[in-house]
Symmetry: none
DNA sequence: TATGAATGAGCCTTCATTCAT
DNA sequence: GATGAATGAAGGCTCATTCAT
């Protein structure tokens, strides 16, 4: 344990572990498989990690930190709310596209290893919410984003949709360009799937009622 | 195996298993824990299920079938596309709210036990896509849903958002009314988070460009 | 246990058990398999047999008794020692040819289930020795069988050869006529594989010494 | 599995296993018993053997090879057919006397674990037949062994008798000198149990007929 | 008598973890 | 630091046996 967490071996093992976890799932992966993938002896792993769980935990901690930095960075590089939102989603997709193993593990094990990764997951969730919150506020200032939004729900809408896009990508052979989905996604978030409002009189009272009613939430 | 799959014991064991799986994850759950929870002997489980995997598989098969029926039912009970969409999402949320353990297992193990539940998962995904597809087509006929939509993405948007809402509910103690989230969700899907289009001149050219560009997808 | 050991069910089960034992070996056979083969419920077996071991034990007891009777009968139907010997071996081969499952179980499990079948096996061995002993004595009286024989060894010679012939028959698909091997076997027992003694002067002193030396045993 | 098959531990475990198998039979033996007998942990066995079956298989393979070498060696050290036959049988008895556990397992499990040890058993059988075949041919050249023999049957005669002698030895406390049985056995094989042919006129026509008839086989 | 669902002890096997080298 | 043989606890699964019907 006195071994530095930045040595080559450390990263070698962590990378190998994530690859194995991605292929077989955390519980179905064995220390031996990780050791073999990393090209080290089984025992060596215990010089860098407290135990098997610890590998996952350290991955989550690093992933959370890495993602946080990258997301804030992406958001800052946009001027308008819309640009920021686009950059956020693009960064999200790009990151997971570049590190598909990390993506698989991150998205797959989050729910199952809840106990282990509770804390990093909470941080990640909070960070995402803060980012969205900031973008929404800016957009509202700009007049490009509606004022009557429940940010918590918007965060779930965006995060859920993005993760579902990533999941589909993972399970369909990862052949298409994931990052390219950022634009159509943003467009859907902004405009919705309904016909432009105010442009025509829908005459459909029930729909208007439902939509109006739905819009009450703040 | 010669024992009926509709007996009391069968459901007793399946229910117990789902509860245990929800609490500890499939891989961390033991047959003994399930047996204890079900109030039967370990060996009894093997009179109703081929092996541990089979419990999960049978749960998925039943869940898929149940959900399919329920979703189509819900959609049929709506007149307009909007009503149908609302009913679908409400049914989804309500179902998982009523059976939180099933929800946890279903959403949690899908990715990890991919090998085992591949087929049911594919069916479920296809069913969801078909439902969305039908609603979108109807809405386009009605003039309430945009014509320039990529249904695959819409499905991911809606499904992802709904599942994220469920996940959040699961991980926050399940205290609020999950089904009540249907209306605000639908409203977001329909109207998006942007300000009503055409009502004001945004003056922000970059945004318009981005949004316009995004809108190209068909 | 109060159930008669001569009812139809009893024989039905015993026959089924021997068939299953012959196919899979005693240890690899299950009560369920036997029950299925016999067309009865698992529990029914325990009305006729104390436990699984008891099935084998009762088979051995019956087999031993049956074989004893048959062998003595065969021997009595011969006049000369040679005829008796031939009849014995023919009966042995014929019996096992008619009941190959019994043969397989009898020959296969004898050594392995030694503890269980010790007593019947001892009886069988003793009976065989007695039969051979009687035949040898008669032959010596007749002048057709050598006087300088160690009966214990003769019994092993004959019994071993016959059982090996049966084993080979079992493991080669049981296609040839087993009982027909009686005559050539007897001929070998009587005349040996050496050239007729006294007919030629072997000139090979070492051989004569060895054979003479061997002949010392009484 | 990556562990050498010639290490001390390997032999330690194999020896222990054969001892346990000899005492209780293969099916009734447990890995724990073997581990305890070998003085290792249960898991250690799986570093050297794929599974329980593999222990038996490896034993058979080694036994077959060892026996083959030893038998051919013994045969080569004899000059005449008779000497060779004697050496073969003596080697057989001596080998099994020195390793009684191996003998018990080898003779006992051959039939029952047929599936597992089919191949080694076939090799052993073929080897034995080849050895006998060679000896018989030599003896016929020398004029010491009859010309009208069916080698297959001779092999069964000799092998069966020798194995029966070994079995009896095993089941009678192994107190007498097994190897010493080689000479009387050979003498019986060569001369048979009948009175010397041609020395006296047996007057018993039926016997002569039978024996003559039997002798027809080639 | 007959049934067969239920039981639970016991076994094979895996694998995280340790430690002597 | 690095190794990998050794450990042994734990889990999935089987199956002989029982017993309520």
């Amino acid at each position: 344990m006195a071994v530095k967490r930045n040595s080559d071996k450390y990263h070698q093992i962590l990378t190998a572990a994530i690859k194995v976890f991605a292929e077989r799932g955390f519980s179905q992966s064995t220390i031996s498989q990780i050791a073999q993938e990393a090209g080290v002896a089984d025992g060596t792993i215990y010089l860098y990690f407290k135990n098997k769980d610890d590998i996952l935990v350290q991955f989550y901690e690093r992933m959370t930190e890495h993602v946080s930095i990258r997301f804030w960075e992406a958001v800052q590089q946009g001027q308008t709310a819309l640009e920021k939102l686009h950059n956020l989603i693009h960064a999200h997709l790009e990151l997971f596209q570049k590190e598909p193993n990390g993506a698989i593990v991150y998205q797959g094990e989050t729910h199952l290893q809840w106990r282990l990764v509770q804390e990093p997951t909470r941080q990640m969730s909070k960070m995402y919410r803060d980012v969205i919150s900031k973008i929404v506020a800016l957009g509202q200032d700009e007049g490009t984003i509606r004022g009557d939004l429940y940010v918590g729900l918007v965060k779930r809408l965006i995060n859920g949709a993005v993760e579902e896009v990533i999941n589909t990508w993972i399970h369909t052979g990862r052949d298409h360009d994931l990052a390219a989905m950022a634009e159509p996604l943003v467009e859907l978030f902004i405009n919705g799937i309904g016909t432009p409002k105010g442009q025509h009189d829908t005459g459909n009272q029930a729909l208007q009622q439902l939509v109006n009613h739905c819009g009450d939430m703040t």
